[in-house]
């Protein structure tokens, strides 16, 4: 089992810290996830599990430290993002002034404002679009001049990180299959034009996507429930649907936030089975955030324990179970 832990890390978090005003939710936590492993993050309520989780996912920017995924620096404290808006606006302003100047000196153009206006618009457009779409090269350029904006959740997904929510956040009014289809968003290539043209290519893609979606539903054990509105599914199924949705983006790393919360033992068992199946058959790496020790002890290769935002223990389930500080955190000190 412990062989897995020697795999090269897929995700590395260094000294991740997050403060909210005065209070420190997560302080200098180092954390790595080896490939193909199932690692868990546990801790009593208010230990900062979810905050840490959100930092990993780019939902919250860390106050300090950074997160690397597949060797790429994804999340870190934003640097000089205020200047980025200058990057967008400056070119247009410069051009505008230049053109206006030319116009007023009457050198090239007799209608300064008109011409300048058009130019400025186009440049502004271009730079703004750039700032929104943020292609990689653009981000690299920015990084070179010291402007770093850490990844947004969708960037993490594109990079290959899937997630589920502690309190289920499905698109309640869409059908199960549609939820999964939304999950496939990053995988699908059809664009505005092909959608408008309703091209054969897109229709094929859509058809294929449906097949795949149904496969995923089957995989998580929701076959045949595809056309039910997500809100009408029983609780356990909603959890499974959320996992299916996360899988739809073909993630390499799957982050499950208290997947067993509110499940009965039976459902929990199925879940455990499903999780190890995901790892063994789809070759995913899985990070569990759990409250329920039993589940974690069962399947984790490694367990990390947080308390009051600090990492108090890390190791195999056995080691952690024995660790006095863990016991104290769970039994001794009341949950913060």
């Amino acid at each position: 089992m412990s062989g897995v832990l020697d795999n090269p890390p897929i995700l590395v978090a260094r000294a991740v810290t997050r403060r909210f005003g005065g209070l420190v939710a997560v302080s200098a936590v180092d954390f790595t996830i080896p490939e193909h492993s199932i690692v868990s993050l546990i801790g009593p309520n208010g230990a900062g599990k979810t905050t840490f989780f959100n930092v990993l996912l780019g939902v919250i920017d860390p106050s300090d430290g950074e997160v690397e995924f597949l060797g790429r620096r994804m999340v870190a404290k934003p640097e000089r993002i205020a200047y980025e808006s200058l990057v967008w606006v400056l070119p247009a302003v410069v051009l505008g002034l230049a053109a206006a100047a030319l116009g007023f000196t009457g050198l090239l153009i007799d209608r300064p404002l008109g011409i300048a206006g058009f130019g400025v618009l186009i440049v502004l457009m271009a730079s703004l679009l750039l700032g929104i779409i943020r292609p990689l090269w653009y981000q690299k350029r920015l990084a070179r001049i010291g402007i770093f904006r850490s990844a947004r959740p969708n960037d993490m997904v594109e990079a290959g990180v899937g997630r589920t929510f502690q309190n289920i956040r499905l698109f309640k009014n869409m059908t199960a299959i549609e939820n999964v289809l939304v999950g496939m968003h990053v995988g699908l290539k059809s664009n505005l034009l092909s959608a408008m043209g309703n091209t054969k290519k897109m229709q094929r893609e859509e058809a294929a996507a449906l097949e795949r979606a149904n496969e995923l539903l089957t995989l998580v054990g929701l076959m045949g429930k595809g056309n039910e509105a997500a809100r009408n599914l029983p609780y356990g199924d909603q959890r499974r649907l959320e996992i299916a949705r996360a899988l739809a983006a073909n993630p390499k790393l799957l982050l499950l936030d208290e997947p067993a919360a509110g499940m009965n033992p039976k459902e929990t068992q199925n879940l455990v089975a499903l999780i190890s199946q995901l790892r063994d058959e789809l070759g995913l790496t899985i990070l569990l955030i759990e409250h329920d020790m039993k589940l974690v002890m069962g399947i984790s290769d490694r367990i990390t324990v947080l308390d009051h935002g600090e990492k108090i223990a890390e190791g195999t389930p056995e080691e952690v179970r024995k660790d006095p500080r863990v016991i104290e955190a769970y039994l001794g000190a009341p949950a913060a």
């Binding site: 919250i60 008109g114 969708n154 997630r163 956040r169 968003h185 309703n198 097949e211 595809g226 056309n227």
Partner: protein
């Protein structure tokens, strides 16, 4: 992936669903083309049936339909923004104006002199009208450009900001057209636009409303078709996902900003098309054609028609237009002539926006899905009202999380 491959590919839901989908797409295009044609023919027919011909000559009816059609286009476009993507755009008239002025610049002597082209001199007043057709596209593009310019800074922020910024934008655009006399001829507006022309038949004419009418029908049909295709595509799903839960949408890999921006730009471009068409019909554009009243009227049309449902919105737009421009007015004149003491003094036109207001509030409280609801929107809006604390909390938490970006 091995496991997935091994799984039985043909699950019961799979092919059936896929089949459905494909047929839906085709079927839709035909239904729209046909039903627009039928409706168009029907309306045209009405214009020749005695009781209606007494009210006003048939041509006037057709012309009226065409004006209504402009609002239908606007409503369809706004529906894409408000109804589908759930972004509140209160400055919609601005894009309408931008479209109109775009056409004016290319298709009027004054505009040509500003742009430094001499299209009209070279082609002549009649033939120059051919530019109308490409201009439909150009107008759409220019409007979309401004849409992006406006949306780019604001769509990164939460929705409400968009509402107020668009409202401001809707105020600015007329002011700009009004005050930069040198390039827009200021308050006098730009006159002498050329009417659209077709190779065989030459230019449209004020005497014969049918060419405009049919053009309008075609535009409406195309817009509606594209709207449906978009909504059924990957983009449409993304928009709905964002509308339902923005954080979850982001967590499934949707780039919420670009996707929202796309919806916003598409809505703008539709308004641009409507603007070009309207300008080519009035052959004059001036800033006072694009007040915020237009924006709010269109919004009312969308909300009352049924957010998210294109047919509903189209019908809603037509109905409300008729109420505005025909019903209330004739009520007025009727009661003016028949000197019924109280009713004579009531000015129904003045009541109109009061009615809008009441209708909007009542709608949101009682039937938020609108008169002709979109099934999913209906589910959503109704559940929303009986949403339990848990959900409201998570949404709040979500927004706060989002914010920390």
């Amino acid at each position: 992936m091995s496991a997935v491959q091994e799984l039985p590919a043909a699950t019961p839901a799979g092919p059936r669903f896929a089949g459905l989908k494909k047929r839906a797409g085709r079927h839709r295009s035909w239904t729209i083309t046909l039903s627009v044609a039928v409706v168009g023919a029907g309306l045209a027919l009405i214009a020749y049936i005695p009781p209606f011909t007494l009210a006003q000559p048939s041509n006037a009816w057709i012309d009226g339909y065409t004006n209504a059609g402009v609002f239908v286009m606007l409503a369809l476009g706004l529906n894409l923004v408000v109804g589908v993507a759930g972004l509140l755009d209160l400055g919609y008239a601005a894009f309408f104006a931008i479209g109109a002025y775009t056409y004016a610049y290319v298709a009027s002597p004054f505009g040509n002199s500003i742009l430094g082209i001499n299209l009209i001199e070279t082609m002549g007043n009649q033939a120059a009208g051919i530019v109308f057709w490409p201009m439909l596209l150009v107008g759409a593009l220019v409007a979309a450009t401004f849409g992006i310019l406006l949306g780019a800074p604001t769509l990164r922020l939460r929705g409400d900001y968009l509402a107020i910024v668009t409202l401001g934008f809707g105020e600015i655009v007329p002011i700009v057209f009004l005050n930069s006399d040198a390039v827009t001829n200021g308050t006098n507006g730009i006159g002498g636009l050329v009417r659209p022309a077709l190779p065989i038949m030459g230019a449209f004419s004020a005497m014969n409303p049918y060419p405009y009418y049919i053009t309008m029908l075609v535009l409406v049909a195309i817009i509606m078709m594209l709207c449906y295709r978009l909504v059924e595509s990957r983009l449409g799903r993304a928009w709905e996902a964002i509308r339902e839960d923005e954080l979850a949408a982001a967590a499934t890999g949707i780039n919420t900003v670009t996707t929202k921006l796309l919806a916003f730009a598409l809505g703008a471009s539709t308004a641009g098309i409507a603007g070009v068409f309207n300008a080519s019909k009035l052959v004059t554009v001036s800033p006072d054609q694009f007040t915020f009243i237009v924006s709010f009227t269109v919004l009312a049309m969308v909300v009352l028609g049924g957010m998210g449902n294109f047919w509903g919105v189209a019908v809603g737009a037509f109905v409300i237009y008729t109420i505005n421009n025909v019903l209330l007015k004739s009520l007025n004149q009727f009661f003016d002539t028949t000197g019924i003491p109280i009713l004579k003094d009531v000015d129904f036109i003045q009541l109109q926006f009061l009615l809008y207001g009441l209708a909007l509030v009542a709608m949101m409280l009682l039937r938020p899905e609108g008169l002709f609801p979109n099934s999913r929107r209906k589910r959503e809006l109704h559940t929303a009202i009986t949403m339990d604390e848990q959900d409201s909390m998570t949404t709040a938490e979500a927004t706060s999380e989002e914010g920390q970006r």
